[in-house]
């Protein structure tokens, strides 16, 4: 038996899922935590059942990809029973989806969640009466307090899945139209979906040509029958019924006092202080993860890991296995693992901080605050979250784009996130800036972060202006009530994201490190192909590739094959660039742990301009293989995938070329600073000006719009006409 969990976003589905299955999915106070469907076994001794947790939806008429997953699951009737979770503290809006589901005849149970909040507000809901009215069982629960779960499981066990319930009936006019549609479509549920959602509802069924024609002509004829717009008729009828039901069952308390959420929001989204507070919160998150505390924890952690791995490596060496096996284990596998695992503490801190923001409900406010700014670049406030996570790691950042409403938004955000400087690139800047730029190294590193962000935003604008022309980033979002984040859930959240990173990145990176190991420890020496020692790495296959591509990289400041090879290994994992340089320059000791060991070699091999160009290229070029695979998973098309990889390579090359060539012409290092600074500022202001003039999204304000073609606001024009008409009517009346 398949049981589908369906409900509004952020209504407690995942919490209930965990209670019903005994599993450990993390929960957020941010609409869209569940981005894929998950399934698990029901905790019941009497029946075998599969619980499917679906993304939250407000309505069966969907606008985003994740919503479609849930709506299609229902429309294709893949489940035997629906558990509709209704947030009792937000009854009216939640019941809308319930009523859409009741249009079908599938077996259903309503789980009335958040009863504890209702009680806290000193309100009551007569669930028995509600059950009588809607004709399906209603079970009051509180998923977070674990109340009523047993009763719900009992109800599931007792439900007769062969028998449906009586569908909701509407008034005569509506029923007539539904009947007409049903005669052609032969399914009341789909007929109602068609009434509401138009042709999209027919995707899942097959109609012959005659039926299709008939259905469309009914659609056309019955249009005139209603005073309201056709697509508003059913929602209106539903909300009328919902109000009636709510009035009968919901006993509200007489006193209305200012809620806690209102009080918190008075400060956090304050007109003047809202923005500075947002800035401080974001700075704190970064300071925790990448500041002294994060670095300290990371260093301690890396020290422990290295000690541990050294033990293993020594153990392996003493076993006396074939030389290539012990080389594979020590250099290939553990070398790679150390690089990934050592990066974990900072990410975990970042995930932890984000989890707190998410669970408390602040993340939704962040999107609310940032929307105005991001809209300038054609994105929505929700794109802010992936970009923020992108500073930590590109892989989870790309996965989180699934919460964005429009497909274009999601594609664009996925394609620009890799430009945001991820945490793994930081060691590269650290070593290069530290070696060559001395006291100014802080500025150099900072300029990298700014440059990455700038290229990301410029790319978004560029995509919006060219390939995604006319696409509009949507924004409509519910602000959830603030909740105190629970320790258990925050830790669960952090652990889950960290685990995802470890598993996803770890497995791919491990395989990649073994390949890299093969390429760097095998090569032809004096005519024979064999395993090489550390000192002979210049003869390796990787060395040959590096030498081969060096001429292409010369114009952007690469002078030796070592740098080219290091950059190549960066495609496997950005954190290995520094490590590879260490090996290639023949340095004894761990350069990842102690970057200063590399300073001398870098000072010998790189000028300031070359170093800066190297950093820029490392920042902008194609991200590591884990991020590339995440991108592939989200874009789901060869065309876009190949395009974005090529785009990133070309942009990285061009920007590095520009910076290197410009910096090489004049004499000193001072000019390098000055020039790059001026260029950055110049580009920034040019872009700002350009975006101010042109970049704002169409708001339907036709009077101030310079665009004459490509306007698709027919509804707005219709609305303007009516507006003018009513104005004229008013004047006549006077």
């Amino acid at each position: 038996m398949n049981i589908a969990l369906i409900g509004n976003p952020n209504c407690g589905k995942t919490t209930l899922y965990n209670e019903l299955t005994g599993s450990n999915q993390s929960v957020g106070n941010w609409p869209g935590v569940t981005v894929e469907k998950k399934s698990g076994k029901l905790k019941s001794e009497n029946i075998q059942a599969n619980i499917v947790d679906l993304p939250g939806i407000y309505s069966l008429s969907t606008i985003s990809l994740e919503e479609e997953v849930a709506a299609n699951y229902v429309c294709k009737k893949e489940m035997d029973l629906i558990i509709n979770i209704v947030d009792a503290s937000n009854l009216e809006r939640n019941l809308f989806l319930t009523f859409q589901l009741l249009d079908g005849d599938f077996p259903m149970i309503i789980a009335l969640n958040a009863m504890d909040i209702v009680e806290k507000k000193q309100e009551k809901i007569n669930f028995e009466e509600l059950s009588n009215l809607v004709g399906v069982p209603v079970i009051p629960i509180s998923a977070s307090k674990k109340q009523g779960i047993d009763k719900l499981i009992e109800a599931i066990e007792n439900v007769d899945i062969t028998k449906g319930h009586k569908p909701i009936r509407y008034n005569k006019d509506i029923e007539e139209t539904i009947q007409k549609f049903e005669n052609q479509i032969h399914d009341r549920f789909i007929a109602i979906r068609f009434f509401e959602d138009g042709l999209k509802a027919l995707d899942n069924i097959k109609l012959n040509r005659l039926e299709t024609k008939e259905v469309l002509s009914i659609y056309h004829d019955d249009h005139k029958k209603f005073d309201l717009d056709f697509d508003m008729v059913l929602p209106n009828a539903r909300y009328e019924k919902i109000l009636e039901f709510v009035q009968k069952t919901h006993i509200k308390s007489a006193v209305t006092k200012e809620s806690q959420t209102d009080r918190i929001d008075k400060i956090l989204t304050h007109k003047v202080f809202g923005l500075p507070i947002f800035g401080v919160i974001m700075f704190t998150v970064f300071f925790l993860a990448f500041g002294p505390i994060g670095t300290f924890i990371t260093n301690q952690f890396v020290w422990v890991i290295n000690k541990f791995f050294t033990l293993i490596i020594d153990g392996v060496a003493s076993l006396g296995m074939a030389s290539y096996i012990s080389s594979l284990i020590t250099n290939g596998i553990f070398g790679g693992l150390a690089a990934v695992v050592g990066f974990l503490p900072q990410l975990a801190i970042l995930f932890f901080a984000l989890a707190i923001l998410e669970d408390s409900g602040y993340m939704a406010r962040a999107a609310f605050i940032m929307d105005r700014l991001l809209r300038r670049f054609g994105l929505s406030g929700k794109s802010f979250i992936p970009m923020l996570i992108g500073f930590g790691c590109t892989v989870p950042a790309i996965t989180s784009t699934r919460t964005l409403d429009s497909d274009h938004d999601r594609k664009i955000t996925t394609m620009i996130v890799p430009f945001v400087s991820c945490g793994a690139k930081a060691p590269i800047y650290g070593v290069f800036a530290g070696a060559l730029f001395g006291g100014g190294s802080f500025l150099v590193v900072f300029s990298m972060y700014i440059l990455g962000l700038l290229v990301a935003i410029l790319s978004a604008v560029l995509f919006k202006k060219t390939i995604f022309k006319g696409a509009k980033a949507n924004y409509i979002m519910e602000l959830p009530e603030y909740r105190m984040p629970t320790f258990r859930n925050t830790m669960r959240h952090t652990w889950e994201r960290s685990k995802e990173f470890l598993v996803k990145a770890g497995t791919i990176l491990l395989a990649a490190f073994i390949i890299i190991w093969f390429f760097s420890y095998f090569g032809v020496v004096d005519g024979t192909f064999r395993l090489l020692t550390e000192e002979e790495i210049g003869h390796s296959l990787l060395g040959s590739i590096g030498r081969f591509i060096l001429p292409i990289l010369k114009p952007i400041g690469f002078t030796d094959w070592q740098a080219a090879v290091a950059m190549l290994t960066g495609f496997i994992a950005k954190e290995s660039v520094v490590g590879t340089l260490g090996i290639l320059y023949g340095i004894n000791g761990d350069v990842i742990q102690n970057g200063t060991l590399l300073y001398q070699s870098i000072q010998a091999h790189f000028t300031h301009a070359q170093a800066y160009a190297f950093m820029v290229f490392a920042l902008l070029s194609t991200p590591c293989i884990a991020a590339v695979s995440a991108m592939w998973k989200e874009l789901k098309s060869w065309k876009w995938f190949v395009f974005i990889i090529a785009y990133e390579m070309i942009i990285a090359y061009l920007v590095a070329l520009m910076i290197y060539q410009l910096a090489s012409i004049p004499i000193g290092t001072i000019l390098t600073y000055v020039l790059t600074g001026i260029i950055l500022i110049f580009v920034f202001f040019m872009v700002r000006k350009w975006i101010r003039n042109k970049g704002s999204a169409c708001g339907g304000d036709c009077e101030h719009c310079s665009q004459t073609s490509g306007c698709n606001l027919t509804q707005y024009i219709k609305y303007k006409e009516i507006l003018d008409e009513s104005k004229r009517g008013d004047e006549d009346g006077k």
């Binding site: 508003m232 209106n236 989204t269 923005l275 609310f368 605050i369 924004y475 409509i476 979002m477 602000l479």
Partner: protein, 75 residues
């Protein structure tokens, strides 16, 4: 008048929804002819706006608010 013209702290009743590509969603979220809306505040940067409708808090851009026709009411 449109929802955009309603100042924070004021209430209104929806007369018609014309919002273009979010029209369906706006209707399903409960903004239907006759629905009462309370405009709570604007974001720090002046846009989007936060409204209270059917007892919950919804945020939408002024671009969409501009295409929702309303009548201002007292209280």
């Amino acid at each position: 008048m449109t929802l955009q013209e309603i100042q924070p702290g004021e209430s209104c009743i929806v007369r018609q929804v014309y919002a273009n590509n979010l029209r369906k969603r706006i209707i399903d979220m409960g903004l239907i002819t006759g629905t009462k809306i309370y405009v709570k505040k604007t974001a720090p940067l002046g846009d989007p706006i936060e409204i209270i409708v059917r007892g919950y808090s919804l945020t939408l851009r002024k671009a969409e608010a501009r295409t929702i026709l309303v009548d201002r009411i007292e209280g």
